[in-house]
Subunit: 143 residues, 2 copies
């Protein structure tokens, strides 16, 4: 039984971010990989859409410049033959401010021949923004 592509990809991604070693990640990205991390790109230029291996490796370098991953936990998980989705809880440090950040996100990944062809990431971005700012944003109650 071979390891699921999601585990290899996850390990390679975290190695690229925390150790700045992106060879494993490069080997697991489809040349035409379709990448989207939904979030406020004005604040986080490494959010947004990227297309192709070179663009994804570059955005992962930008992520590595800005955060360090300390821990992550998968809160929900689904695996298909060539796909995997999970809700994850990350403990990070924002390197510029040295602020600890606790982040919840959902990711949906598609693989072909073991390589990542598509990934979509939805983040609880308001919580992220408040932590990155280091202060709460006042909100009116709408309901």
């Amino acid at each position: 039984m071979t390891e699921h592509s999601l585990w290899r990809f996850s390990r390679a991604l975290h190695r690229a971010i925390n150790e700045r070693q992106s060879e494993d990640l490069a080997a697991l990205l489809d040349d035409n990989v379709d990448w989207a991390v939904y979030g406020p790109i004005d604040m986080f230029p490494f959010h947004g859409a990227r297309r192709g291996k070179a663009a994804v490796l570059e955005v992962c370098r930008q992520v590595a410049d800005n955060i360090r991953v300390h821990r992550f936990e998968r809160e929900s998980m689904m695996l298909g033959v060539d796909s995997g989705a999970s809700i994850m809880r990350y403990s990070l440090t924002a390197l510029g401010s040295n602020r600890p950040i606790s982040l919840r996100l959902a990711q949906f990944a598609q693989f072909s021949g073991g390589n990542l062809t598509s990934i979509r990431v939805v983040i609880d971005t308001f919580d992220l923004v408040e932590q990155a700012l280091g202060r709460p944003i006042h909100l009116p109650k709408i309901a």
Copy 2:
């Protein structure tokens, strides 16, 4: 071939929200259902965690008081035997302000015997908050 539990649940949920008819939804909720919608509960009191059928029906009534669903599209999807996960794009109206809201979320649902036992929803909450406020929140660039 029977219909997947996720489709029945989705139909019942939208009926409860848009038509305020919650009988179908009530019949599909496990008595001890575990429900979590991650988001800023100060602004949206119907976000947060709920436990049990009565609490979930009540929070769905609060959602129905506050939004109307116009359209939704599943952008990514995974189905298991007793589970389903998707990234969805919703077009809503916020009833209080009459503002149109376009919302992206990821949901992970677990079923047992056709009934919902657990659901987790991650929302692109910053985008939601800005639309609900009707104005952008200025953000510094952190990277």
